[in-house]
């Protein structure tokens, strides 16, 4: 089953950056209520750089793995770079071919990131 290759299972069982970020600058939650996936993304900003990114929550292997991989990717990057991240980026990051039904699992952390970014603009 390609969808659950080694790398995905690893990120699901040992998610990177999982846990509470004590001095988070921005937090954002997103959920797939139909699946029961719930992710909270927590970011720390230093100047315009994401110095720290964590996430917590429950969800399917795809949403957890995607969240783990995304937080690794955005750490140390400038906000101006993060804003450009889109759906294609997520699917390329995770490298899984999924049915339309599971796409929202992979996109969940991106949605949380978008929500966090929109809070920054205010």
């Amino acid at each position: 089953m390609d969808i659950y290759r080694e790398e995905i299972l690893d990120h699901y069982k040992n998610p990177r950056n999982f846990g509470e970020l004590a001095d988070a600058t921005y937090k954002a939650r997103e959920a797939n209520t139909s699946c029961g996936d719930l992710i909270e993304l927590q970011l720390k900003l230093d100047d315009s750089v994401i110095s720290e990114a964590r996430f917590k929550g429950v969800g399917c292997a795809l949403s957890i793995a995607a969240s783990s991989m995304l937080t690794e990717e955005i750490k140390g990057k400038k906000v101006s770079e993060i804003i450009k991240l889109d759906e294609k980026f997520m699917f390329d990051l995770v490298k899984i071919d999924v049915s339309s039904m599971r796409k929202k699992c992979i996109l969940l952390p991106l949605r949380a990131l978008e929500r966090a970014l929109s809070k920054m603009n205010r």
Binding site: M1, I3, Y4, L9, T33, S34, C35, G36, L38, V58, G59, C60, A61, L62, R102, C105
Partner: protein, 432 residues
């Protein structure tokens, strides 16, 4: 006894391959497959008899009208109703419930009245009444379930004593303690689409008639009518709803059965053609039952398709279908309990074959329901994962999502074996 092999030949889709493997279709609680006989009946209608009904005197219109009204008679006989005027065609069970909400509930549920539903309900029979109660400032009450997923009817059942409490500002407890003379409606499922629990409707009705004499009883038969014989007159309820697509029929057709005395007094649900008898500029006189509740051009093909589905089910025999599913359960339950004993799955619901439909709901330990369902799909097995339109119930089970396998007359023991193997495969893929 069913001849399953013979039956399977009637269902073209069952010969499909999924990811190179023979399809194991065990998502019947979501929707059922259609036999050639139903597909042909619909095709034949469009090929030879299609016309709008109840209008015009031309031949095709007469044929179509006779065919749909014949379908209504078939439904009437199938459910043991005494009067065809009590059989209303709707889109599905959800629409039937909403019809009662708008045509009966709006008028009869008032401030301070009690509206009782249960923790087993599908959202259609929960959200509707919840919202009506909110709008009318009525009191929503919910019948609780026990650890095995049975409805708690009495305050004392055997060794355990149950009380009422508040959960999210809603009263929840045994039916006995929720009923009083201000309760106007009791909405209850005949069988749970999540746990398969079969509800003792006659016991429910007995309690309601005794302790809430003003209340009507509406039964959601979406899961029960396709799988067990039903006799509305014996049930003693006021309304019964069910959907065609869950009983080998096409989508877009369902039934509301209601007692004539109630239906006669109810105002229409939808307005338009068919449901009128006389229209002037200032006012309208409604059509007689059942058409008073069937506005607009009906789903003729759907009605005929449902009639053909009923013919098929009747020829197999609902008692035989129930027997077959009990046999499948007798085979499946010990296997599920074995997996449970090994810590591979968490299994939900009553363990007694007589008290449940052929529905198996579980979670593979350490694996989200959607991931388990994904792996099962790769093995050709079609199950459903999620909350199954019953979020409060899923939450009560202590989880966010479950995997559900549900049988029908065309499933086999061999397929259950493949499901069990599939669960082992989930374990393998996730390296548990």
């Amino acid at each position: 006894m069913l001849n399953v092999e013979k039956i399977r030949k009637d269902f073209p889709i069952l010969s499909r391959k999924i990811h190179g493997k023979p399809l194991v279709y065990v998502d019947n609680a979501a929707t059922t497959q259609k036999p050639r006989q139903v597909i042909s009946a619909i095709g034949e209608y469009y090929e030879s008899h299609n016309a709008n009904v109840h209008r015009g005197v031309h031949t095709l219109s007469t044929e179509a009208t006779d065919m749909v009204e014949e379908a209504r008679d078939k439904v009437c006989k199938f459910i043991g109703a005494s009067n065809r005027e009590e059989v209303i065609f709707v889109r599905n069970a959800t629409e039937a419930i909403n019809l009662v909400l708008y045509a009966w509930g709006e008028e009869h549920i008032n401030r301070g009245d009690g509206v009782v539903t249960t923790l087993l309900e599908h959202h259609s029979n929960l959200v509707s009444w919840q919202q009506l109660a909110k709008k009318k400032q009525a009191v929503l009450k919910v019948v609780d379930i026990d650890k095995e997923g049975r409805l708690v009817l009495k305050k004392n059942d055997g060794r355990i004593s149950h009380g009422i409490r508040r959960e999210e500002q809603v009263l929840i407890g045994p039916l006995e303690l929720l009923l009083d003379k201000r309760v106007k409606l009791v909405a209850v499922t005949a069988a749970s689409n999540v746990l398969g629990t079969i509800v003792a409707i006659r016991k429910v009705v007995k309690l309601v008639r005794k302790q809430a004499p003003k209340a009507i009883v509406l039964v959601d038969g979406a899961q029960s009518v396709p799988h067990m014989p039903v006799e509305v007159q014996k049930m003693g309820v006021d309304f019964l709803v069910f959907s065609g697509h869950k009983m080998l029929g096409p989508t877009g057709i369902g039934i509301l059965w209601g007692r004539k005395e109630l239906l006669d007094k109810m105002s229409p649900f939808l307005f338009g053609g068919e449901m009128i008898s006389e229209v002037r500029l200032s006012d309208t006189i409604w059509n007689r039952l059942p058409w008073k509740f069937e506005a607009g051009t009906p789903n003729m093909a759907g009605m005929i398709g449902l009639g053909a589905a009923i013919d098929y089910l009747s020829s197999v025999g609902l008692e035989n279908i129930r027997e077959h599913e009990k046999n499948l359960l007798s085979y499946a339950l010990p296997r599920m309990e074995e997996l449970e004993g090994e810590g591979i799955i968490e299994f939900y619901g009553v363990r007694n074959v007589d008290e449940r439909l052929g529905v198996l709901t579980f979670n593979v330990t350490g694996v989200h329901a959607h991931d388990a369902a994904q792996v099962l799909d790769s093995e050709g097995i079609a199950v459903r994962s999620g909350h199954h339109c019953a979020m409060p119930l899923t939450k009560r089970l202590g989880t966010v999502a479950t995997v559900r396998a549900s049988f029908y007359l065309y499933n086999t023991q061999e397929e259950i074996g493949r499901l069990v193997e599939g669960i082992q495969r989930v374990k393998q893929v996730f390296r548990i």
